[in-house]
């Protein structure tokens, strides 16, 4: 649909300035009527997280991000996409991720941005190490749930955990 969309992805430790990102997006593809930006921030959940350290697989993360953006640009008539994900150590309130999309039409811009962000969450690998009052914890998809399920399978018929 729009093989000509201008796609830019980056993984970086530095923070990003929103005004600059919008300017680059407009320079990359002038003439847009609609832009949608998503910004993800480190949440401070009741003050328990002192810091968050993100690790990635350099090369693979950028490649996955680009593949996601390409799929979005095939599905909706996007003009340009700029995606930035930060790695390294971040504190509460810090910006983590930016997805910025432009299109002639607002519904395409909204759909494209939301699709990209959803796909980033499920396909692009970023490991998170949380510092909770000095204790460092790797955040993984509830391993306890997985173990509970495995335990049920192993003991099936015996009245379980």
């Amino acid at each position: 649909m729009s093989a000509s969309a201008v796609l830019s992805v980056a993984v970086q430790t530095e923070d990003f300035a929103l005004e600059d990102a919008f300017r680059r997006l407009r320079q990359a593809a002038p003439g847009a009527g609609a832009e949608v930006a998503f910004v993800g921030l480190v949440r401070d959940q009741a003050g328990s997280v002192a810091s968050l350290t993100l690790e990635h697989y350099p090369g693979m993360s950028e490649r996955s991000m680009l593949a996601v953006c390409e799929r979005a640009a095939k599905r909706w008539p996007l003009l340009a996409v700029e995606a930035i994900h930060r790695v390294g150590t971040l504190g509460p309130g810090d910006q983590i991720v930016l997805v910025l999309v432009s299109s002639a039409h607002r519904h395409a811009a909204f759909a494209g941005a939301q699709y990209i962000m959803d796909a980033f969450k499920s396909e692009v690998v970023f490991w998170k190490l949380e510092d909770r009052d000095g204790e460092k914890v790797w955040i993984e998809a509830a391993p306890s749930d997985h173990q509970a399920l495995t335990a049920w399978e192993e003991t099936s018929g015996e009245g379980a955990p």
Partner: protein, 84 residues
């Protein structure tokens, strides 16, 4: 040679981030690789086959256990992540 990479929790558990493995045969199965790694780093096999660990070869996810590795390949062991 085969490039092997470990990330996040695995990197910490195995005490290293990457390792180059000489490849004597022209091919290597994942099972053979696990044996070689366990010989190199005692206890590695248990860590690398724990639930949720995924493999990437040349920076693309691989679901196929019958995979065969070739010289120059980069294989990475990826611990689970949260959807955030």
């Amino acid at each position: 040679m085969l490039e092997v990479r470990f990330f996040a929790r695995l990197r910490e558990a195995l005490g290293q981030e990457r390792l180059s493995l000489p490849l004597e045969a022209p091919e290597l199965t994942v099972e053979e690789l696990l044996c070689a790694l366990d010989a190199e780093i005692p206890g590695a096999r248990a860590q690398l086959t724990a639930p949720g660990i995924r493999l990437a070869v040349n920076q693309a996810f691989i679901e196929d256990d019958a995979l065969v590795l070739k010289p120059g390949d980069e294989i990475a062991f990826l611990p689970p992540v949260t959807g955030g």
